[in-house]
Symmetry: C3
Subunit: 335 residues, 3 copies
């Protein structure tokens, strides 16, 4: 697929944007009828000559049959798999999914080596999945972390002309203090680029005091509810909590609305992420909270044949104080 | 496509050469009959194991219909699009197009982020194009430059058995002092590798004094005339001027001749680039000129099916004093 | 092709493994019936997000006809081409071919720029090949080395129900002291990562004294014999010597056995590499020897359609003292 158009906002000049995704999809079948396959993607962002160099992503290998489906690679954990995100439609620089209050429901995925093994099984309108992401010790984050184990279930039904979907996910494991950068950014009003430096000074000391070794067990829960009506209206609700052992929580609420009429899709989503942590530092009780909320707007017009006219607006794309908006307008092309 | 053969000359040992271009071409059509598509290319040079790693290039996205064609990406500006270059045929290490006196007629393209938006429209034997390359501020070259705007027109006709083509281009915008390296190399007799160092010392000081901020407005004009005869002979003439605001000019003259007989193509082109600048430096009047001229020779024999036997010779491939020749012999394969 | 599964052993935690090979095969035919083509491969290892970035490999260009076949690129030298390796089957992290006592019969290939030109010709059951790998001076290893010239021959026949294959290879040229790292590792009991450091200190001094300039002429010989029986049993024998000018030898013995029954393949190979060098150092006579032997085990079950269940075990994958075993279990998928 490819994109062309313009993008701009508070953090960048209004500028051209073109980008490329080369999707490689491989599939086969064993003599006994098992399906197997693999996916791999090369991404190139055309915003400068250099950025046309390819970056690999989304590699997965899978095998499926009557027993269900087993997938290994850069794929969703079970909770993410079960939950439906609030975003719909597309825009060339992803305003619908990249604002600060938005959550993709990873619930801890990708904290180790981003190599997830997921087993899923469907029966009728129900689906369940189990996932494991292992810390293989290949990253230099000190001694090994516990694996991240995920469990997810979903259910689809129809009720007097309304399609209903429910997703429920749970993940547990260990993560590192480095993943707390958003709250540090918020608490100390730091630019994303300054956080790494800050982390080695006071902020880091503070975090070390607050969270000890930097290794944190966590439990995460998530729920999604979606509804689609014959008249083209649809809505998705998301709720999730990531609860770290030492009194550190991230709570997320999100809602998305869509309206489809013929070739037109209008969408908005709104999300809130609340960070809450409390501990003792240099003899003082510390109780800090921060809250990010923002919304995204998407308008798509389907030209047919894989071409979509796409506009996007995000109200805030940086954890800095104040709102940093972003927009884009262009064409999204699938081949 | 792929190449195999040998290459050598004054600047490298005679050695094997093999290289690969993987072209990805995507296309589709909307419901209303608009055509759209994208191109992307992975290049790999086999001169060493490491160089087999892929480099992305030539990414473009386009949409076309009765309104004309709109292309965004690593593509020609309007002037380059309108003008026909003097080179013909192919050789495995590009001796026809890489000698110092040769110009690809970019007339300023690629000075910003190499992301050009071009609109083109054809009516009968005429074609016109308009292009914009924007400085998106993503490169660290100080404050923003004016965009480069291009305008081009071309015309094809036949006159008593001779096919005639005319191309006319104009581009205007701002460029930086860094693009003047060829003249610095010439003026100070520096190796291309030494120029960056030199630029931070005396040469740079000199340039700063000469050109002020290093930001230079320019106007560029170009003209190409081509003629093809039934007996296999053809010729192309090129003339262009890039005129920077503060008394700095680059003038280019080029000529190319070709002769095709059956599977055989013989080609030679010759080009002259004249650099002329004058200004005040430390109270002295400075008037410097430099001139590069060189030629390229190409012999191709088409074996059919996409295979071409290709020989190339370039008289001078470095701005250093004296001529540094280069040659190659091999096969160019298209699939 | 793609792989999924688990791998582990003495040097790494038991962990997930997924990887991708995208093979590009291009071919064509000239008007006179010559075949030509090219191969190129992008490899991506999924063990972490970063490692999904593509790496280029295996690029070759070839042309073939009644005159034989000419191949240029990342391909086998003539000796490697002629000889059959002892390994059979597959495993996801290559336990059959990566243990320390195993040799892939390169006999010096890849010491320069890994760009080999090979000519091969077949007549009846016989095949011969000639290869050249040139030091193109693009690598910073001092002054130029002599090219590596290879000669290989093979012969296939059948004798009372037994398929027999013979391969014979000879290569001569110059290599650098840097390729002796395995013996340094063995002699000084160094980790592979520590060798580079060591080479710049005592070990290097020692080597310089021992081998002079670090440039060493060598002659290499290799022989392979293979036998396949109707009952599914097969065996391969390998023997090779790489003889450096100044009293430095590497001798390799290898044997592989296979048994195929229906979809099942069982394989084991065993190899011994003996390093022997003697010279004078600080007035003392030095006579050092080292010896690595190890084995690999492979079990494959062919599920059909390109899917193979693959298990592998290697007894020793590091030159360190003692044995460092490695294993893997997974699926190898071809599409």
């Amino acid at each position: 697929s490819a994109e062309m158009g313009i993008t701009g906002g508070d953090l960048k000049e209004t500028q051209f944007h073109n980008s490329y995704n080369l999707n490689f999809k491989m599939s086969g079948e064993t003599d006994t009828g098992l399906s197997f396959g693999a996916t791999y993607r090369l991404d190139a962002d055309g915003s400068s000559e250099e950025n046309q160099n390819p970056v690999g992503d989304n590699g997965t290998v899978f095998i499926s049959g009557a027993f269900g489906k087993l997938t290994l690679g850069d794929t969703d954990g079970a909770a993410d798999w079960a939950m439906q995100e609030t975003a719909m439609g597309t825009s060339i620089t992803d305003e619908g999914t990249t604002h600060v209050g938005y959550s993709g429901n990873s619930l801890g995925d990708g904290r180790h080596d981003d190599q997830v093994l997921r087993y899923e099984y469907a029966f009728g309108d129900f689906g369940v999945a189990l996932s494991v992401e292992h810390d293989d010790g290949n990253t230099d984050d000190g001694d090994d972390f516990d694996p991240i184990i995920g469990l997810g279930g979903k259910y689809k039904t129809e009720f007097s002309g309304v399609t209903l979907g429910f997703g429920l996910g749970y993940q547990t494991g260990e993560g590192s203090v480095n993943q707390l950068t958003p709250i540090i950014e918020g608490a100390f009003d730091l630019d994303r680029d300054e956080v790494e430096d800050a982390l080695s000074d006071t902020a880091n000391e503070f975090l070390q005091a607050t969270f000890g070794s930097g290794k944190q067990g966590f439990d995460a829960y998530g729920l999604s509810v979606s509804a689609g009506m014959d008249n083209g209206f649809s809505a998705v609700l998301n709720y999730s909590v990531v609860d770290f052992d030492d009194a550190y929580d991230i709570t997320y609420y999100g809602v998305g609305f869509g309206y489809e009429m013929g070739a037109l899709l209008l969408h908005m989503n709104y999300g809130v992420e609340e960070y809450d942590f409390g501990n003792e530092f240099l003899g003082f009780d510390v109780d800090m909270e921060d809250r990010f909320d923002s919304f995204g707007l998407i308008a798509n017009y389907d030209l047919g044949g894989g071409a979509i006219l796409a506009a996007g607006y995000a109200s805030d794309v940086s954890y800095r104080d104040g709102d940093q908006e972003q927009f884009s307008l262009g064409m999204s092309l699938s081949f």
